[in-house]
């Protein structure tokens, strides 16, 4: 955007950033970025992870102060001392990392800072839940219990509460940092309806997403970021062009071609009588070199299935056969050592796999330390060589193997976790929504990696909340509904629409 255009946009904008910069340590997260969003506008920020979108949202939301430049509200520069100060200016932010307080109830979380009070000031604790219930119902949410603790509800429900908490304050400026990352279609539709209500009432909405179809369906304007700099603002732009701008290079086809599964490929994982909800049972078989997709609406037992196959906690009564031998998986150690080795790459990297303060190298070699050690002492040279190899092979973007994993971007953390299991030579990989919140370029790398792994004869069980991914990356897709396999889809019937249709059919009756 030219300087004159930027100045003009600033003056009419509800919220604007003038040449803001922000650095973390040695990393320049934002470089004199201009940005402006007008009242009543839905403005999408897109770019790879680490492009500076989240940093810009944090600056606009008062979470961080800019190193230089200014934030303008209605054309006037303001200094925001914190999120509470921003709220006084009518700015509400849904941050990427969820900010629900786990041991407080949904009602306490929803109404924090605006609790119902008596005349003399004390909070009416008894009135919290009914008030929350009414507020949620007003937004069309009736399935979340306001008396439950935040830690007791599902990730998608937490995200909805998080969004609801911000929008019930009716902000003039609504900032949403990847609000849809744990939502399924219907919940996204709900969110977009709320966004349209707000923008129709004059709220400026800024949001980030990695899902292109969401961006095109809701955004009035799109601003693209790359490496901390704004590279352009558009009223409309097609996906290929946007990806080129985001990545600075062309990504040919987003989805690489699937390697064929040999007809005589042996079944490496067979599951029978697995019960995900204590009731109905399911079974399936996974062949070497096959990518088997698991689809369906959230809360249909995917998580239980994936964690169960990893023994965390185990599936009750399930009969699991790994590489032709009956196996009991009671804990993750059993899965890791089972016959061919079962590995789980979950979406919640910090909660279920990585030790964030430890180095990339320590995280990579954790399960194979026994093999790497001589008389209980780790062979440092071998450890360093192996971790360097895997960093190169997976293209993990890190300054070095000694970097703490917590300092890497989400997609690269995902690769570290995957690298760990490749070092352990696991032949059965459970990928649970591994691309959630991962930028498009890293997604592409993960896709190519999956194809390579399948080509090497590894078996992959793949769940994704993105049905397009399931449709393009899997040999077969099993759609779960109510703890059962509702449908099995194979090409040519395998398409995103078919998966959604199978997932939704009779969803309410079932």
């Amino acid at each position: 955007m030219s300087a004159a255009a930027a100045a003009a946009a600033e003056s009419v904008a509800a919220v604007a950033a003038r040449e803001v910069s922000k650095a973390f340590g040695g990393v320049q997260a934002l470089r004199s970025a201009p940005f402006a969003a007008a009242a009543g506008e839905v403005h999408a920020l897109v770019g790879e992870n680490g492009a500076g979108k989240s940093t810009l949202i944090k600056l606009l939301g008062g979470r961080l102060p800019p190193d230089s430049g200014a934030i303008l509200l209605g054309g006037t520069p303001v200094r925001l001392s914190g999120t509470a100060d921003a709220a006084r200016h009518g700015i509400g932010t849904v941050f990427q990392e969820l900010t629900l307080l786990p041991w407080m109830t949904v009602a306490e979380n929803l109404l924090i800072g605006r609790e119902p009070r008596r005349a003399l000031g004390p909070i009416r604790r008894g009135a919290m839940a009914p008030r929350a219930e009414a507020v949620l119902a007003g937004l069309g949410i009736t399935h979340i219990d306001p008396r439950a603790l935040a830690s007791e509800i599902s990730l998608a429900e937490r995200q909805i509460v998080e969004i609801a908490r911000v929008i019930i304050r009716r902000p003039h400026i609504l900032l949403l940092d990847e609000p849809t990352s744990s939502l399924v279609e219907r919940e996204v539709a709900w969110l977009f309806a709320r966004i349209r209500d707000l923008s129709a009432a004059g709220t400026a909405v800024v949001f980030t997403s990695h899902r292109w179809n969401e961006i095109t369906s809701i955004a009035d304007r799109i601003t693209i970021f790359r490496n901390g700099a704004e590279v352009g603002t558009f009223d409309a732009i097609d996906e290929d062009e946007a990806i080129t701008l985001m990545t600075g290079r062309r990504v040919e086809a987003l989805y690489p071609p699937l390697p064929p599964v040999p007809a005589d490929a042996p079944a490496v994982l067979e599951v029978a009588n697995a019960s995900l909800d204590g009731g109905s049972e399911l079974g399936f078989s996974l062949a070497a070199g096959e990518i088997l997709g698991i689809g369906g609406l959230a809360g249909q037992g995917h998580r239980e299935l994936f964690l169960g196959l990893f023994g965390a906690p185990p599936l009750p009564r399930a009969r699991v056969t790994v590489g032709g031998a009956r196996t009991t998986i009671a804990r993750p150690a059993d899965a890791i050592h089972a016959g061919l080795g079962i590995a789980l790459v979950p979406e919640d990297r910090k909660g279920e796999g990585l030790l964030l303060p430890l180095s990339v190298r320590d995280n990579l070699t954790l399960p194979i330390l026994g093999r790497l050690s001589r008389l209980g002492v780790i062979r440092g040279a071998a450890e360093r060589r192996m971790s360097r190899e895997i960093i190169a092979r997976l293209g993990i973007r890190t300054p070095g193997p000694a970097q703490p994993v917590g300092a890497l971007s989400g997609g690269n953390q995902q690769k570290v976790l995957l690298g760990r299991w490749l070092l352990a030579d696991s032949r059965i990989l459970l990928f649970y929504d591994v691309t959630r919140g991962v930028d498009v370029a890293t997604k592409h790398e993960i896709y190519e990696l999956m194809m390579r792994l399948a080509g090497e004869g590894r078996a992959i069980l793949f769940y994704s909340s993105d049905t397009e991914e399931l449709a393009h990356l899997c040999h077969r897709v099993l759609v779960l509904r109510g703890g059962r396999i509702a449908t099995e889809l194979r090409p040519p019937d395998l398409a995103a629409e078919a998966i959604v249709a199978a997932a939704m059919r009779d969803a309410d009756a079932g």
Binding site: T83, L101, M104, A137, I141, T142, H143, L149, R186
Partner: protein, 334 residues
């Protein structure tokens, strides 16, 4: 689903309200149950040996002996809720106990002023902890370990030898030896807690303990809240020191030392999570009484006082393991 509110009834898959209350207060309920059990055991042993149930004298002395610990445990609870821990309890009680024994005298007005000044001194001690933890971003355990020694040293300066005196009228007002009137002060403390629970500060305390980063993102002033938490705790330790002096009618600059550990024991028995964000001062008061009841029970069981701490520790381990099991049962039962 949210997009279609009419498709599901409002009470869709709700757990009953009672289940929420039980599950979310399991620590408090367990503490009350253990307290009840220990009272029954004590009353039983007392009845067998004395031929009567515990009367006014026993109840009064139990309440009076527990007062300092109960107050210290409430202070500790407030700090622990913010994911902190306060080891300086013993030092603050030593110091305020010594001050009380020396300066409490004269007219009622004079004693009121002195008492308020002592509480302020305790608050100042807490403020130092709070500033170091909040502004200095130092680890609470290190800060309060250091200030524990400092306050203990100051207490010895103030009162080198056990002595001093607390006027009889002051004693009978706080810890009447004939009737358990001190319970009134506990009731006031519990009321104060309920008020705190319903205030902005209370919400902030819990929010910080739940998730400090999230709390800051929600606009909670974390530094200020921490400082206030330690300051209130210091004031409560000072009240504990005054009660201790009143109960002993004299001062000793070392009698408070034990309260550092026993306040933590009471907090744990009271179901307050040492990881912060969960717990109640009412639970901590129960925990304090459980601690006293254990001592009473050991006395009536004719256990050599030398082994007292052994049994106290054993009981603590059992209670914590038991509490953990119950918590897990409650969680898995849903």
């Amino acid at each position: 689903m949210p997009a279609d509110p009419t498709s599901r009834p409002a009470a869709h898959r709700r757990r009953p309200r009672a289940a929420h209350i039980l599950g979310q207060n399991s620590g408090l309920i367990l503490a009350a149950a253990i307290l009840l059990l220990s009272i029954i055991v004590f009353a039983g042993m007392f009845a067998v040996q004395q031929g009567r149930l515990p009367g006014d004298f026993e109840i009064t002395s139990t309440v009076n002996n527990t007062m300092p610990l109960a107050l210290a445990a409430i202070g500790q609870t407030i700090v622990v809720l913010t994911r902190g821990i306060d080891l300086s309890v013993g030092g603050v009680i030593d110091l305020t106990n010594a001050l009380a024994a020396i300066f409490l005298a004269g007219s009622i007005l004079h004693m009121i002023v002195v008492s308020l000044l002592i509480v302020l001194a305790g608050a100042a001690a807490g403020l130092i902890n709070g500033l170091l933890v909040g502004l200095g971003r130092l680890q609470p355990i290190v800060v309060t370990l250091a200030t524990l020694s400092i306050f203990q040293g100051l207490a010895i300066r103030v009162l080198p030898q056990p002595g001093g005196a607390v006027p009889a009228g002051y004693t009978s007002f706080l810890v009447n030896t004939n009737r358990p009137t001190a319970l009134v002060f506990l009731a006031l403390a519990a009321l104060g807690w309920m008020g705190l629970r319903r205030s902005r500060l209370g919400v902030n305390l819990f929010a910080i303990g739940n998730d400090p980063q999230a709390a800051i993102a929600l606009g909670v002033k974390a530094v200020r809240t921490r400082i206030v938490a330690y300051t209130i705790a210091g004031a409560l330790y000072a009240v504990a020191g005054i009660f201790l002096a009143a109960n002993a009618t004299a001062g000793d600059a070392t009698t408070g030392d034990g309260y550092t550990l026993t306040s933590i024991v009471a907090v744990v028995l009271g179901g307050v999570s040492l990881f912060g964000g969960r717990g109640s001062a009412v639970g901590a008061i129960c925990g304090a009484f459980i601690t006293t009841m254990i001592v009473n029970i050991l006395f009536f069981a004719h256990i050599d006082p030398l082994y007292q701490s052994f049994y106290e520790g054993l009981f603590l381990v059992i209670a914590v393991v038991f509490g953990g099991l119950i918590g897990r049962l409650v969680r898995s039962g849903r």
